[in-house]
């Protein structure tokens, strides 16, 4: 009936489809290593992982929303607000600023989820709107300016920029988040139900799953992870700003899709997102290594993005491609 099936027959079995993003990742690494030798050293790789950390944490959050068949367009706003809160509260609250900033993300994630579920507004619109609300708040709280984390505050964020056992702490943080999210999706009731809702909402409903609760939890998780990403970003840049994470929304969604999670939901997971985030990050960093004209970077990125999605997405589970 369509090409998707013939492609599927070539790559029989589920594992090949799951392996394609990984193969693409290795291929990209090799291409860059061949064009610009010296890329595959421990130092560059550690830098690569550290630079991917924020993107990965954001993408992990939005994976929950996408797996449900929804989308979260408020993550960049929530992350920016968290960075502003951290920068502003560090002097007065000290270490307590970290949980406060992250919990603000949880609160706005919950808000998105409740608006989406209770007012029955599609998640695309609901999160677009809460994103606007949150950006407005961040602008208002910070008076529209970037806030530098001063010397005293930097002492409290230094641990995020440190290295532990040879690995940057940000990498360890994102690895921990990745593992917890992976386990939560695979082995908890919430995780199983989230995938079931994404795969077929009416069926999940008929099977007695509390769809509304599952959705709200997923959006709350997305908001909380977005805020965590914002906190890490603020600590790395020693500054908080209401537009700090604005450029990260679409790359984060792209990371999820390139990793092989279906945008229609029900198929995919955090491990795939990790691969996707690394692909996005490698393309970005690799362009600098290979020496692409800085003005052309966006163009190459767009073309690679389309190619990567064309290669990696699993069309067998998508009835109609919209």
């Amino acid at each position: 009936m369509n090409e998707g099936f013939s492609i599927r027959q070539v790559f029989e079995g589920k594992w090949t489809q799951g392996a394609i993003p990984l193969v693409l990742l290795v291929a990209l690494l090799l291409i860059i290593e061949i064009t610009a030798p010296g890329f595959l050293t421990g130092e560059t790789l550690a830098l690569l992982f550290a630079n991917t950390a924020v993107l990965f944490i954001l993408a992990t959050g939005v994976t929950f929303a996408i797996l449900l068949g929804g989308i979260d367009l408020s993550i960049q706003a929530v992350a920016s607000l968290a960075s502003v809160m951290l920068a502003q509260l560090l002097p007065s609250l000290g270490f307590a600023a970290f949980p406060v900033a992250i919990l603000s993300g949880l609160a706005f994630g919950l808000l998105s989820g409740i608006v989406h579920v209770k007012l029955r507004v599609p998640s695309f619109v609901a999160t677009l709107a809460t994103g606007g609300v949150v950006t407005g708040l961040a602008l208002w709280v910070s008076d529209g300016r970037a806030i530098t984390i001063e010397e005293a505050g930097r002492e409290k964020t230094a641990w995020i920029n440190a290295t532990l056992a040879g690995l940057p702490v940000v990498v360890l943080i994102s690895a921990l988040i990745g593992i917890v999210s992976f386990l939560a999706l695979r082995y908890t009731r919430f995780g199983r139900q989230a995938i079931a809702v994404g795969a077929g909402e009416p069926a999940a409903w008929a099977a007695g799953i509390n769809v509304d609760r599952t959705k709200i939890i997923a959006f709350a998780a997305s908001g909380m992870l977005a805020a965590t990403a914002g906190v890490v970003l603020a600590a790395r840049l020693s500054s908080g700003s209401p537009v700090l994470a604005n450029q990260l929304l679409l790359p984060a969604i792209a990371a999820v899709i390139v990793g092989g999670t279906a945008i229609t939901g029900g198929l995919g997971g955090v491990a795939r997102t990790a691969v996707g985030a690394l692909i996005i990050s490698i393309v970005r960093i690799g362009m600098t290594f290979v020496g692409v004209n800085i003005f052309l970077e966006n163009m190459v990125f767009g073309a690679v993005l389309i190619a990567a999605v064309a290669i990696t997405i699993d069309r067998s589970k998508i009835a109609v491609i919209k």
Binding site: G70, V125, L128, G132, A254, I306, V320
Partner: protein
């Protein structure tokens, strides 16, 4: 974005009853159900206008109304193109990329302060053509490579943005062609020509949607793509045509934006995508497709523009304006979307 509801009709009945117990649903039923709902955006617009006019009579001054029309011109033209894509149940994220390509082409080919070109109105034609080609490529990528439009057009967004920044060399280039600048500066019947162009785009979009086969097919695809395919419609061709059509409107909007700003630069498109999506959605076109249309979108554009204008007139802090706009989107959509017919809200 793709929902197969066919197998579980019975569930939707349960859902329908629960839906009706929700407050917005109940209000809507009380006031006459579907017919009321479809008029909700218009009612929101009127209430908004009245409230702002009462709070600040300057709102209904001719000078302000002209300013309002002027700032609605580009969003209206953009949103016309986007409406067709959303009607199909797809999304076009390449709005900003395509717009900046068109603005780049018109500025570089007409008289400017960077090179010796002076092709006059041929530059406008080339810019609209460039927009159409961008849309065409989006459509081809989406249908031929079988990629969801979200990702295909996201890629095209980056490509368009990269191309225009590269061609402009990362700087802002001024548009010196007086006749093209007249689009923004010259007035006909009190309104800048750009507003008339936008109204023309609206009329064209309305004709396409209500009086051509393409318009009907787009609506049919949004309603149910499988059924449309089975009825013998060449879905692929309609999809490609729709994306090209959207690119055509984005191209016109790019020319208008360049004429209004008198220059083209890297960030000429910034923020226009979300503004356009907001306008389409607030107007009552469903993101799932098959519901709404260009008339809805025109109302949506006016709501968004009036709101922005009104908040400036009322002296609301520019920082809070985004918050108000966000709350507005939720309110408008919660009231107006005909979710009784949407079995699943994703």
């Amino acid at each position: 974005m793709t929902i197969d509801t066919e197998p579980l009709k019975s569930v939707s009945d349960i859902e329908r009853t629960t839906l009706m117990t929700l407050l917005p649903g109940r209000i809507a039923t009380m006031l006459g159900g579907r017919r009321w709902r479809s008029l909700a955006p218009l009612a929101v617009l009127i209430v908004l206008c009245v409230l702002i006019a009462v709070a600040n009579p300057n709102f209904i001054e001719v000078r302000n109304l002209v300013r309002l029309a002027n700032s609605a011109a580009v969003p209206l033209t953009l949103a016309m193109g986007l409406t067709f894509i959303i009607l199909m149940g797809s999304i076009d994220l390449s709005v900003e990329g395509t717009l900046s390509v068109a603005a780049m082409v018109v500025v570089l080919l007409a008289a400017n302060d960077s090179n010796g070109n002076d092709f006059g109105w041929w530059a406008v034609l080339a810019a609209v053509a460039a927009g159409t080609v961008m849309g065409l490529i989006s459509g081809l990528v989406q249908t031929m490579l079988r990629i969801p439009s979200f990702m295909a057009t996201l890629g095209m967004w980056f490509i368009g943005l990269g191309l225009s920044v590269y061609m402009l060399g990362g700087s802002a280039i001024r548009l010196n062609d007086a006749s093209i600048r007249d689009l923004a500066l010259h007035r006909f019947l009190g309104l800048p020509l750009a507003v008339w162009v936008a109204l023309g785009a609206f009329a064209l979009a309305a004709v396409i949607q209500y009086h051509t086969r393409l318009g009907r097919h787009i609506l049919a695809i949004g309603g149910h793509e499988d059924v449309t395919k089975l009825s013998g419609v060449n879905v692929t061709r309609v999809r490609i045509a729709a994306f090209a059509l959207a690119g055509f409107f984005f191209g016109i909007a790019g020319v208008l934006a360049a004429a209004q700003l008198g220059q083209s630069h890297a960030v000429i498109g910034d923020g226009r995508l979300f503004a356009a999506v907001t306008a389409v959605v607030v107007g009552g076109t469903a993101l799932t497709g098959g519901e709404g249309g260009v008339v809805n979108t025109a109302v949506g554009v006016l709501i968004v523009t009036v709101l922005a204008n009104g908040m400036i007139l009322l002296g609301i802090s520019p920082y809070i304006q985004q918050t108000v706009q966000g709350l507005m989107i939720i309110a408008a959509v919660a009231l107006s979307l005909d979710r009784v017919r949407l079995k699943i809200v994703k």
